[in-house]
């Protein structure tokens, strides 16, 4: 059987009251990827993550985690860990009690992992969480998520309130666990540089829509930084798209999306840094480059809904 996508969103829309937070979001994350969810503040990152872990239900479209609906399904709940942005914990619980909570509520829980990590970080087990420093609280929350040994780890701005040393500690442990278990990680940030070394998959969210999604290498390979005479812009082949362009006099600089660079040798072609690509898309909110994932087709109700995810037979068709 083919591996189910760790995360599959098809045509997802969500409104907070009357304000649309997400519109027609589709993406597919193969298992084992470390996904960077990038977007400016207010782009809908948190909403998207809440949909993934089942804290919210989409108004439209479908969310599937390993092929199943998240939220109500204990089989999925056990496999998904979530760290909310403010890293909520029960303030009156001690660190040890917080870990006991994790052990009681998760069937794959690893006491060893929790004890090792907290011991290494020197966090006192008998102290109530509300009396820990902010950094220590974050570490406890992250430990709670890690010791669950999830197949999908969803982290909302995990590094936001950590100093550089703590960031390294967190990312180091996260990467070690990823290497060890092969888990899929989705982490959000509004700073792309933060994730450049850790992510191999990028989802760019702008204004409630997925603008760009794909493996980092593919994204890099599919974009070209061009510079040359502005007169050449009109003659660019139809097989590519200008994501963003700047003109200074007769000179034009553009980010060009295409499988291959333009044939005209007068263009100076360079491979853009991932940060430049992200920046270009953020500056052009209408631009999007979506590797269209699987589509949903509604079947008349009454027919037995046999499949909710592609299977081997689907794949081989």
């Amino acid at each position: 059987m083919a591996e189910l996508p760790a995360v599959l969103l098809t045509g997802v829309g969500y409104r907070h009251g009357r304000t649309p937070a997400l519109r027609d979001c589709s993406l597919s994350v193969p298992p084992g990827r470390v996904v960077g969810l990038i977007g400016p503040n207010g782009a809908g990152k948190t909403t998207l993550l809440h949909l993934m872990v089942g804290l919210l239900r989409p108004d439209r479209g479908e969310v599937r985690i390993f092929g199943r609906e998240p939220g109500g399904d204990p089989a999925i709940l056990d496999r998904v860990a979530f760290l909310a942005q403010d890293k909520p914990l029960y303030g009156s619980f001690t660190v040890a009690e917080t870990m006991r909570l994790g052990r009681h509520l998760n069937s794959r829980w690893s006491d060893e992992l929790a004890a090792e990590r907290l011991g290494r970080l020197g966090i006192p087990a008998d102290r109530p969480v509300r009396r820990l420093s902010g950094g220590q609280r974050s570490q406890v929350a992250i430990t709670l998520a890690m010791a669950k040994r999830p197949d999908l780890m969803v982290l909302d701005e995990p590094l936001a309130d950590l100093d550089p040393l703590r960031r390294h500690e967190v990312m180091s442990d996260l990467m070690a666990l990823t290497a060890e278990t092969g888990m899929t990680v989705v982490l959000s940030s509004h700073v792309v540089a933060e994730l450049e070394e850790t992510c191999d998959h990028l989802v760019l969210l702008g204004d409630g829509r997925v603008q760009l999604a794909g493996d980092l290498d593919e994204v890099r390979a599919g974009h070209h930084a061009l510079s040359g005479p502005a007169s050449l812009v009109a003659a660019l082949p139809d097989a590519g798209t200008v994501v963003h362009a700047t003109r200074t006099g007769e000179h034009a600089g553009l980010l060009w999306r295409s499988d291959r660079p333009p044939p005209d040798p007068r263009w100076a072609v360079r491979t853009p840094a991932i940060g430049d690509i992200v920046l270009a898309y953020l500056r052009a909110p209408e631009a999007s480059a979506l590797p269209r994932p699987t589509l949903l087709r509604q079947v008349s109700p009454g027919l037995r809904p046999v499949q909710t995810a592609p299977t081997a037979s689907e794949e081989s068709r």
Partner: protein, 136 residues
């Protein structure tokens, strides 16, 4: 443990991370920090140490494997190939001594460390035109 080799990352070098790892293994072999038969850090160890995506480490190791420098023994780790023929620097003590003496003379002549590196780079580029990177 990976006492044998400790990777480091130059985030501003403009060189892809996996390539930095590849180069560091090659360099370690050249300076004798690694020997044939030695085990490279596991993917977990390396990605934890550098806080980088394990796939990046894997990609570097695959690159090294393709170049014939290392071989993966599933379940045990990745090892420097026993039969690998590296022009290891330790095998040329005379050349090293001569270079050390030359650097001493350059220093005595009032050249700065950057000047020395520039001179060496120029010489390397002349003799190894196919190579692109800088020495330091």
């Amino acid at each position: 443990m990976y006492g044998v080799l400790e990777f480091y990352l130059d985030r501003h070098a403009g060189i892809p991370t996996y390539l930095q790892l590849v180069q560091q293994v090659g360099h370690a072999l050249r300076v004798g920090a690694l020997h044939p038969g030695d085990r490279l850090p596991t993917v977990k160890e390396a990605s934890a140490q550098l806080a980088i995506n394990p796939n990046t480490v894997l990609k570097a190791y695959r690159e090294l494997e393709r170049g014939g420098l290392v071989e993966a023994h599933p379940g045990r780790g990745t090892f420097v190939r026993v039969g690998v023929a590296v022009p290891a620097v330790p095998d040329h003590p005379v050349l090293r001594d001569q270079l050390t003496a030359w650097v001493d003379r350059a220093q005595a002549a009032g050249l700065s460390a950057d000047d020395v590196v520039a001179l060496v780079n120029t010489a390397v580029r002349r003799s190894y035109p196919q190579r692109t990177g800088e020495v330091a």
